[in-house]
Amino acid sequence: MLARRTISRGSSQWLAQAASSQRRGMAAVTNPFHYTVGEAAGIKVASRDDGGPTTNLAIVIRGGTRYETVPGVAHGLEKFAFKNTTKRSSLRLQRESELLGGVLSSSLSRENIVLRAKFLRDDLPYFVEALGDVLTKTKYIPHEFDEQVSHTISYEVEALQKTPAALSIETAHSVAFHKGLGSPTVALTNKYLNNITIPGYASTVYTKSNIVVVASGASQSALEKWTTEFLSDVPAGPGPPIVQAKYYGGENRVYSTLGNALTIAINAPALKPEYAVIGYLLGGESTIKWSSGSSILSRAVAELPGVTAVTKHSAYTDAGLIYITLSGPAGALTQAGRLAVDAVSKLATVKAEDIKKAIAQAKFDVLATAEHQFIGLEAVGQAVIKSAGAPQVEATVKGLEAVTPDSVKKAIKVILAGRASFGVVGDLHVLPYAEDIALNV
């Protein structure tokens, strides 16, 4: 039997359509990117109301792998989301949310644990309650860990270890930052995970000042009201201590029979729009179907069959990395690595036209991400936890617009002066050392 209120809420969905057309009319006036930040029961709440019929809700928790107290505990805690609580079993939660047409998920990054729900607009109270229960009422039963959580963990560990490109990024992170940001994003061992460490970490990170409720497609007043009702029993506390990330750099090699990948990571310390632009400038991934693309890197490796190059800029709260991942046949990767290092060192002489193109791409991606109901929530939550104000996308875009070829060249000079981090995965007999591709580590 379902609780009566669930069913009555479910049936009221059919009325949602009639109401939503009116909301849409109102939303046309407001800025669709703008998040409002408020506070309810000591918890920060951010929302934007785009007037659509569906809502995306997330609770962002500052408790990603960089804060973990023992190896893998963040991954263990993330996988315990939506398991049995004192209020309802995981099966019931699953069936009830299916009945309401909702989708529940959780994710883990180096910075955050994120609990997410997508659902029809009128079911907001049910899902705020469901996400809130995860924080305060999860039972952390040992046999649940053995029967369910540990299997999902080992599946994700296996998936990582069978993806050389992802593994080489992990390796590069670990030599770049050692502990903290460098710790692996999965629980490589179950050794430290038990019914003391996981609930212990939960009580450290699931605290009022350490979480933020973010919603896209919900009204701020409703969100604050339901947060007060369902999340006021989250304990108060400071959250995990912040250890300033420090960049080291270096080289690490991992043997793998499952493929070959190199990651060349460059330290991009402060959060400057120039670094994002450099990431797009190097590029690698094609934006046009069936072509190898026209960015600097994709032109460089176009001659090598089977080699793919991808550049990403990862901005963390107090550090950043620009990394190039090359994957493909082992024999071609030495040459590809040389070409990539060459391309990076020639960045200082890049054409203004290329920079303009990179800025346009960066701007598009920022806006597209902000517009997306689901993807943007984590970034908003992270910014709210850090500075109590939601990042407004206009400011980010303005920052990108202010980027000039000169400022990019200045930033390039700064990052090229430092040591790189080099992660190699695959057939180590063939794959190059940093020295072989003239990389300074």
Partner: protein, 122 residues
């Protein structure tokens, strides 16, 4: 199907419970398993899926102790002997360590059956 039992109706009435308690204690003592060092939950038939699942969920120490008690009891049975008085189970030691797990699994199955036949009320 579980055997018919009046245990629930007895436990729900404190005065009946007071009357029955000494008789129950005497019965458990006469049943003789305590003299072999066993506890009542050791006697639960384990040849079914529910109890097998419950046994898997036991903490390692508890599962080890269970196995120890059983092997000791089998040994006593083979030797046609009883344990010395100080090694026999006392009523205080006779705690249901397995039945809570069984009850939990039964609840889970009941809940699943209930939810599997759920329909939305129009």
């Amino acid at each position: 199907m579980p055997p018919l039992t009046i245990a629930k109706s007895i436990l729900s009435r404190p005065w009946v419970q007071r009357v029955m308690r000494p008789m129950a204690d005497k019965y458990a003592d006469l049943a003789g398993y305590r003299k072999l060092g066993l506890v009542a939950d050791d006697l639960i038939a384990e040849e079914n899926d529910i109890v097998q699942e419950a046994l898997k969920r036991l903490p390692p120490k508890v599962a080890y102790d269970r196995m120890f008690r059983m092997r000791r009891a089998v040994q006593c049975s083979i030797a046609h002997s009883l344990l010395p008085k100080e090694e026999q189970t006392t009523p205080e030691q006779d705690i249901g360590y397995l039945s809570p797990y069984i009850a939990e699994i039964e609840n889970e199955i009941a809940e699943r059956n209930e939810l599997d036949s759920l329909t939305k009320r129009k």
